[in-house]
Structures are given as C-alpha cells and as structure tokens.
C-alpha cells in the first residue's frame, strides 16, 4: 500500500453543491441549501478516508456529488486522473466502473423485483459483453467474495437479512473491479453484531483488491477502526482533516473536540474522568449559514474574528488541515491560498 502513497487517486477541489429552494406563487428560486460549500481534499490510493459529522452536515451529499449522482454547483473532482464533475455523459459512463458506491440502507438500495443474480449482474451487463454462463460465473465468484452462498443467486432481496443484503450491495459495487468506493454509512442500518462483520469484510476486500474507500459515517469509533485519515465536516464544510491517530489524540478544531468527547467510553473509571463538551444551540440552517466561521454560533472558544471572517482551510501541521481562527489568527489575511493541499503523510499501516 505504501508504494503508491504519493499518488492521490481522488482529488476534490472547492466542491460546492447547492440545492435550490423554490417558493412563492411563481415557484421562483428563493434561496438555496448549501449542503456542500467549498470543500477540498485528496484521497490516496489504497487508503481509507473517514468522513464524519452530525446528521445533515452534508456527508452523504459529498459522496454522491463526487460520483456525480448530483450535478455539482461548482468545483472539480478528479478520480484516477480523469475529471468527473464536468465530463460528457458518454465519457462519464465509461468512467463509472472505476468508482462505485455502497449505500446506507441495504433494503432501499436493492430493487425488490430483481434477483440477486440480476442485481449483481447489472453492472456487468452494462459495461461488459459477457455470455450468460460467463455472467453467472462472475456473479458466483462475487458472491463467494462477499461470503454469500451461491445457491441464493435466484432469490429476491426481501428473502435476506440486513447483513446479507448489504453483502449483495457490496458484491454489486465490486463487480466491475473499481478502484474507488464511496461507502455511504454502509453500517448505520445494521445491528451492532453485523456491523463488525461488514466492516471486517470491507477491510479484507481492501487488502485483497487494493481498494480506496471514502468511508462516510457518524460512528466515530467505527471510523477510528477503519480509517487511515479522518475528515470532520460541519455544515457543508470540512472543519478538520488529519491522520486518524493524531486527530483522535489531539483534536485541533473545537468542533472535533466536542464531537470526540461525545463518543461513549466503555470504561467507567475513564468515563468519570473525561469531561464532555456540551454544545449549546442548534445547527444553523444550511440555507442561511452564519457569517464568518460556520461553527461560530456554537463554538465554546469563539472570538471576535470568528463572526466576521471565514477561516481558511490550511495545513497547520504536516498532514493536518484545520479551518479555525485559533490557529491562524496572526496571518488570516495572508492565508488565501492555504487550502492548497501539499504532500500529506500516509498513515494507518495497521489496517
């Protein structure tokens, strides 16, 4: 894995996804929900980037916009050296095999009227000219890979349990030998006992097939387990992006700090000692974000400048990016180009 460490497989630059709001008698455009508002990051080949944040902060939208399931409002997405965000439909279709997605709700992401063979075989039919027997062979092979019994190929999704359904979804994502997979909360809808199975399956497949994941989740402990680097999102923007261990040990952004303090601690003696940071107030509406720093309305360490100027997303320490005035108050004016992503350190050889 370390060999390709320097090559970013996915790079996202200043991505924006604004959903229009129509209202009034004439259905005019009265505003927009800034679900993703200018984010930049890179994902290196073979690594797992965890994307965390609370509900409604735009995590899933990031994943879907990267794969161009939504048309981005602005910004570039480059996957495997090819521009995705503005590609022509036919060109985009040819790029689809490189990038796949695993969805949150395994029930909703499988067509109830198709058998497993049809579901897993759909990408193969779309992108490869295979004969029926070749297709069946490949489907069986994929089912073996994700630990499903081959005999179930002619069953329908409703005949499976949640964990098995998610395995079908994973098999479908793997069918075209993708390099990059967006995992959109793949375990959120599963029982805890099944979550571990699915996550272990994902890790095993990553080792075996050299996959790159964008792992979207709100489960911080799961992200700690699987991710190499972690990006923390708040209200459509990335607050902090850092290697996993560094982030969990010493969070820089006050929001990350608050988020991490909310992770339940199984050991009661440690739990009693740690102090939870409780944020007050609600998340502001993404259609009308506050001026200055998005987090300024709830930040325990808020300063004057926070309500006036938007902090730039800049590299604070090698490989650690943070968007907070606490760390660049002395040079806010000069830090325009700070979101330029330099060589980041590849982390997480343990996985």
């Amino acid at each position: 894995m370390l060999d390709d460490a320097d090559r970013p497989l996915v790079s996202v630059r200043n991505l924006k996804m604004h959903f229009p709001i129509y209202g009034g008698l004439m259905r005019r455009r009265v505003g927009e929900v800034k679900a993703v508002d200018g984010i930049s990051f890179e994902i290196f080949e073979g690594e797992t980037l965890g994307l965390v944040g609370e509900s409604g902060c735009g995590k899933s939208t990031v994943g879907r916009t990267i794969l161009r399931l939504y048309e981005a409002t602005a910004g570039d997405v480059i996957i495997d050296g090819k521009e995705i965000a503005h590609a022509e439909p036919e060109e985009l279709r040819r790029m689809r095999p490189t990038m796949q997605m695993i969805f949150q709700d395994p029930q909703a992401s499988l067509n109830p009227r198709m058998t497993v063979r049809d579901i897993v075989g759909e990408p193969l039919r779309e992108h490869m000219a295979l004969s029926n027997t070749e297709l069946t062979d490949r489907v069986h092979q994929l089912m073996d890979q994700v630990g499903l019994n081959r005999d179930f190929a002619d069953r329908y999704p409703h005949e499976f349990s949640g964990g098995q359904r998610q395995r079908i979804g994973i098999a479908r994502a793997l069918a075209l030998n993708p390099k990059f997979i967006v995992c959109d909360e793949p375990i959120a809808a599963l029982d805890v006992s099944i979550q571990a199975q699915v996550v272990n399956l994902l890790e095993e497949l990553q080792d075996r097939l050299g996959l790159t994941y964008l792992f979207i989740s709100h489960d911080l402990s799961m992200v700690r387990h699987i991710a190499d680097r972690v990006a923390v999102m708040y209200l459509g923007q990335i607050a902090e992006l850092a290697p996993r261990d560094a982030l969990y040990e010493k969070p820089l952004h006050p929001y990350t700090e608050a988020l991490l303090s909310a992770v339940p601690e199984p050991d009661p003696t440690i739990a009693a000692k740690t102090e939870r940071i409780i944020l007050t107030g609600d998340v502001p509406s993404p259609s009308n974000p506050p001026t200055g720093c998005n987090f300024s309305t709830r930040c325990p360490k808020v300063m004057d400048i926070c309500t006036r100027e938007t902090p730039t997303f800049r590299e604070q320490e090698p490989g650690r990016f943070v968007a907070c005035h606490l760390y660049n108050s002395e040079q806010t004016s000069a830090a325009n180009a700070a979101s330029e992503v330099n060589k980041s350190i590849q982390q997480g050889e343990e996985t």
Partner: protein, 301 residues
C-alpha cells in the same frame, strides 16, 4: 456444489413462481376461469348455436325464453342468445384494445413526466387539458370527421372499430398517467435507482429495468378498471348512434335497445348487463391476482 446450483437454475423458471402464486389466489383463479369461459363462449358459441344474430323473423317476435330461444327474442324476432354471443365478441375486443391503448398511452406519459423533470410540466398540463375537455362532444365531432374516411379505408365495421377504440383510448389515459407519474416520482428517489445511476445504467434501461416493474401494480389496477370503462363508453356511443351500425350487436347496444321496454321485458336488460358486470368483475379479480403474483415480496408468503 456447482452441480446442485446448475440443476436448480435449469429447473426453475421465474414464471413458474408467478403461476404458483397466482394459483393460491382463489378469486383470481375463479376470475380467470370465468373470463376464459366467457371468451370461449363468445368466440366458439356462434359456431355451435344455429341462429344468425342478424336474422329477422317477424313471426317469433318478443318471445319469452324457451328451448328454441333460451334468452327469448327481441322486437324484430332476432335470437337474443345469438346476439349476446356476437355482441360479446365486439364488446370484449373493444374493451381489451381500448384498455391496452389507454394504458400504454397513460404509462408512457406518466413515466416520461415523472422521470424527466423537463417534460413534467408540459405533459402534466396536457393531461389537465384532456381532463378538462368535454369528452362526449369531442368524441362526437371526431367520429363525424373521421367516420367516412376510416370506413372507406378499413371497411364499415373495421373503420368504426378503429375509430371507437382510438377515441376511447385517447380520452381515458389521464388517470393512469397521473397515478404512474406520482409513483415514478417517488421511485426515482429510492436508493436503488441511485445505485443504478452510479453503475452508469442509461435512462432507457433505467426505466425498463427499475421503474416500470415497480409501477406494475397501479398500471394493473387501472388496466382492469379500464376494460370496464371502455365497454361502458362503447355502449354509450352506440346509444347515441355514433358507435357501431344499429344492426351490429354489442353488449352496450343490446342494453340500450332493451331499455325502453324494460318494464315489459326486464330479462333483456338483465342479460347484457350481467355479461358486462361478469366480464368486468372477472377481469378485476384476475388483475388483482396477477398483481400479487408479479410482486416477489408477496410471492411465497
């Protein structure tokens, strides 16, 4: 392991599952057999039954049911049973083809409107327009305009058949279109459609593979209801004198012919009415069973 899987896939066709499920629905099975019986009677009956539905016999006018004429005769002495049978041929074929036309039109417009956002506005306004049109005057004008030309091109009966089927079809697709559009809109937001898009499935296969099979149930329901509406509209048209020629029997025509003497000969209204109701009911039950059988979630429970 592999042999076992092979045997299984070879032995089991998906349509056998559909049939198995269909068999468990008692009403559907009954409906299907009644409908089949009606069709057999109507199409094979005239070969067995000796009377000609057009044959006028003044000496045997207004007879009550007897062995010679089980359903009696009408005011011109024509055998009612023979008229019922040949009327049924026309009514059923008109009902089925008008239903097919309206369902195809409605599904097409509904799916296009629901799936392509740009077409939604224009197509739905078109639907509103058709709903707002006074249909009967429209049909009357259209049949006045086109009757001659179609009769010349396809013969008097063929021309009228095409005219009536297309008129009924064109004026009854709106409900289907609205229902289908609503379902497609909801379906489009489901994750499996998003998943198919992330695979790169093009729109036309997205519609045929993911959207259409999942809007089957409302289409099925409106199709079965559509047969009833088509048969009834055809009888209304015949009543107004814009349908088939007067000596050409259909169930609606028979019903309308007998209405003015209903108090003296109630059975003449009863039989065509019963035939229409029975056909509609059996088709409804059949559609119900078919809808269940085609849904893999219900199948096998």
């Amino acid at each position: 392991m592999t042999d076992k899987a092979d045997i299984r896939t070879a032995a089991r066709n998906q349509w056998w599952d559909v049939w198995d499920q269909f068999k468990t629905h008692k009403g559907a099975l009954l409906g299907a057999s009644v409908f089949l019986l009606i069709i057999i009677a109507v199409y094979l009956g005239p070969f067995v039954w000796p009377y000609d539905p057009q044959f006028i016999d003044y000496r045997s006018r207004n007879l009550s049911p007897s062995f010679a004429h089980p359903l009696g005769t009408d005011q011109l002495g024509r055998d009612q049973l023979a008229r019922m049978l040949s009327g049924g041929q026309v009514s059923i074929i008109v009902g089925l083809s008008a239903m097919a036309l309206s369902v195809v039109l409605g599904t097409l417009i509904g799916v296009l409107a629901g799936y392509f956002k740009r077409l939604d506005g224009p197509l739905m306004r078109l639907t509103d327009l058709f709903l707002a049109l006074p249909l009967l005057p429209l049909i009357l004008v259209a049949s006045l305009l086109f009757r001659e030309k179609l009769s010349a091109a396809f013969g008097p009966e063929g021309g009228i058949f095409i005219l009536i089927v297309s008129l009924i079809g064109i004026t009854s697709w709106m409900q289907t279109a609205r229902i289908v559009r609503g379902d497609v809109l909801a379906l489009k937001e489901r994750e499996f459609v998003l998943a198919a898009r992330s695979i790169g499935t093009p729109d036309r296969r997205m519609i045929t593979r993911h959207v259409l099979p999942n809007v089957m149930s409302p289409i099925m329901v409106s199709a079965t209801l559509g047969i009833a509406t088509a048969i009834i509209t055809e009888s209304a048209l015949s009543f107004l004198g814009f349908g088939f020629p007067p000596d050409f029997p259909t169930w609606g025509r028979l019903l309308n012919d007998s209405v003015d003497r209903m108090q003296i000969y109630p059975e003449r209204v009863l039989w065509p009415g019963l035939a229409i109701s029975l056909t509609v009911l059996s088709v409804n039950y059949m559609g119900d069973g078919l809808r269940d059988a085609l849904d893999p979630r219900i199948r096998g429970r």
